[in-house]
């Protein structure tokens, strides 16, 4: 029995792959149907995969500090492509330098992300929030 579909990947010119595999295994274990696009994923690739798979959420990892540039305009693209309700999460080392997390979170929420996670977030908690958000937005699961 497989749960809601989520698209996962590491955005931009970033080829950190170990964490990505860990996330795939974890979320699959939590009952999600994970479509893992791997590393160096462009915004359009996330969107294309989300459309074809009818995904409920896109989980974007970024670990090299330049995520902000890569993630700019992603919510707009989703809306353009008919993915108005899709849930967007961002997680990892999302900015360069030691910015307080609250600021990072505000920045990404402003860009249209529903939730923002730091590199040391509790994955179990994240999975719970994801289930909840999907239920709220789509009335499923």
């Amino acid at each position: 029995m497989s749960g809601p579909t989520v698209v996962l990947g590491v955005i931009g010119a970033d080829c950190h792959s170990v964490g990505n595999r860990i996330l795939e295994v974890f979320f699959t274990g939590e009952g999600f149907r994970v479509v893992n696009l791997g590393v160096m994923v462009s915004p359009l690739e996330f969107i294309d995969a989300a459309i074809e798979t009818d995904a409920r959420a896109i989980l974007i990892s970024s670990l090299y500090g330049h995520g902000e540039i890569d993630c700019q305009g992603l919510r707009d693209l989703c809306v353009e492509k008919g993915l108005d309700k899709i849930i967007l999460y961002a997680g990892g080392n999302l900015v360069v330098g030691k910015t307080p997390f609250a600021e990072v979170e505000a920045k990404y929420r402003n860009m249209g992300f529903d939730r923002v996670f730091s590199a040391d977030s509790d994955l179990k908690q994240a999975a719970g929030l994801l289930r909840q958000d999907i239920r709220t937005s789509f009335g499923e699961g």
């Binding site: 579909t5 359009l44 294309d48 074809e52 798979t53 009818d54 090299y64």
Partner: protein, 470 residues
């Protein structure tokens, strides 16, 4: 001695060969050709068949003895025209096109996301032979599929539809299209990153046999000889697929089939070599791939070639010291006279410039690229499409290339391709070039399914290695 006949009914010529089948020692015994009889394809077919078998002229189809199997293919009446409808252009639509081309079809229209009213009118007024409706991974998107199915159902389109999209929508699509002819195949992209083209290819073949063959007057041949025809390019595809299996020393090959109307490129090589420094984006292309370009040809499509390849043709004219008006009048002449043979050095040069432009653009559209990307871990390459750098043999087929005596027409454009632009084009790095003397590949291709060993032996036996000039 076991024999077999293979006949190809082309748009201009109907050609045939009688083969002696003897494993690796198979040989060509006879070859015959006649202009294709447009108003009754079976007539030209029969003329060639009786000549090959040494039967008296006037022998009817029913009187042909059944001891020698007869294989045949057809690309007459424009070949197999397929309209592809997918969801996302770079994903399911791309795979739908690949499936159509690898089944011997030509993609005459391509649509993504929702069909508009204009798209539907287009399909009604210029109906293709088959509509391929795809989109959504299994358990994924259904909305666009259902909408497109409803639009087709409400239209005047009578073309058979093959549904090869999201499995979860199959039953509903079949029901929506129940008053049209609809066929269901397995999803050609069941998951992101997975392709499943075989079931669609089979269905295309079935429909070709049932519908299109009858519509083109080939049903008599099928009925009399009991033989399943193919669209011509399917035979060549099957031959290219078979060559490395029968002869592993002939792995990593590419065939360029340049004709008056289209240029087809076939490749059989691993599409992506995984290393630490390159990442693949998009679809992982199939090991055996065919692309067909309907705007690149030397006669019927000379004018569209002139448009599509303007820059390269002008460069070629410059290198040869010739002017644009000369090419303009040559193009006008050959588009009107599809059997035209160039006379004099200037016309031959103009023809060669066109041929090189066909090779350049057909190859450009078939091969993939590497783009540089800088990451905190260092420089990495991102590959999209298929890597043909390891291709060891490039074989030229079709009237023009099969008559080549040296490799320039193929070698020079491939070299220019590799050094053009910022992205690295993954063209064959250092291949040997060959000519398919006598354009045997389409005829031998018809044997590849049932007699792969013999077909491969025949195909390779007639190849002429082309030296580099100068």
């Amino acid at each position: 001695m076991r024999k077999a006949v293979s006949i190809d009914i082309g748009s201009t010529w109907t050609k045939g060969a009688l083969f002696a089948l003897d494993g690796p020692a198979s040989a060509v015994l006879e070859m015959r050709e006649t202009p294709t009889t447009q108003d009754g394809l079976a007539n030209g077919f029969l003329r060639v068949l009786t000549a090959l078998l040494g039967l008296p002229p006037g022998t009817t189809l029913g009187e042909v003895p059944g001891d020698v199997p007869v294989y045949f293919s057809s690309s007459a009446k424009g070949g197999l025209a397929i309209a592809a409808i997918g969801l996302v252009p770079d994903l399911t639509l791309h795979l739908a096109k690949l499936a159509a081309m690898s089944a011997g079809g030509k993609v005459v229209k391509a649509f993504s996301f929702s069909l508009t009213e204009e798209d539907v009118t287009d399909l009604e007024s210029a109906p293709p032979d088959i509509i391929l409706l795809a989109g959504g991974t299994d358990g994924g998107n259904t909305a666009y599929l259902l909408e497109n199915a409803k639009r087709l159902a409400a239209s005047e389109v009578e073309t058979p539809v093959i549904f090869a999209g999201n499995r979860a929508a199959a039953a509903r699509v079949a029901k929506i299209l129940r008053r049209k002819s609809v066929f269901v195949a397995e999803n050609l992209m069941p998951e992101i990153g997975q392709m499943n083209l075989e079931p669609v290819r089979e269905k295309i073949r079935d429909i070709f046999l049932d519908r299109i063959v009858a519509g083109r007057g080939l049903a008599d041949i099928v009925h009399a000889l009991g033989t399943r025809p193919k669209p011509t390019p399917l035979g060549v595809y099957e031959l290219v697929a078979a060559i490395p299996l029968v002869r592993p020393d002939w792995d990593d090959i590419c065939v360029i089939d340049m004709g008056g109307a289209t240029t087809d490129v076939y490749s059989n090589t691993e599409s992506f070599l995984e290393t630490d420094t390159v990442v693949l984006k998009g679809v992982r292309e199939p090991r055996v791939k065919r692309t067909v370009e309907g705007d690149l040809g030397l006669r019927v499509s000379a004018r569209t070639l002139w448009d599509s390849a303007r820059e390269d043709i002008l460069e070629g004219l410059g290198r040869a010291g010739l002017q644009e008006p000369a090419m303009e009048s040559f193009v006008a002449k050959v588009s009107a006279d599809t059997g035209y043979l160039p006379t004099g050095e200037t016309e031959k040069t103009l023809d060669r410039i066109l041929a090189e432009a066909c090779v350049f653009h057909a190859a450009l559209r078939h091969i993939g690229v590497w783009r540089e990307a800088y990451t905190p871990q260092g420089k990495v390459f991102v590959q999209t499409g298929k890597d043909l750098r390891r291709v060891k043999a490039v074989i030229g087929s079709g009237g023009y290339l099969s008559r080549c005596r040296e490799s320039t027409v193929m070698r020079a454009p491939l070299r220019r391709l590799a050094s053009r632009g910022e992205e690295l084009k993954l063209a064959p790095a250092a291949p040997v070039f060959y000519a398919d003397g006598g354009t045997l590949f389409p005829l031998v291709g018809n044997l590849a399914e049932d007699h792969p060993v013999e077909a491969v032996a025949l195909a390779l036996s007639r190849l002429t290695e082309l030296p580099n000039k100068g």
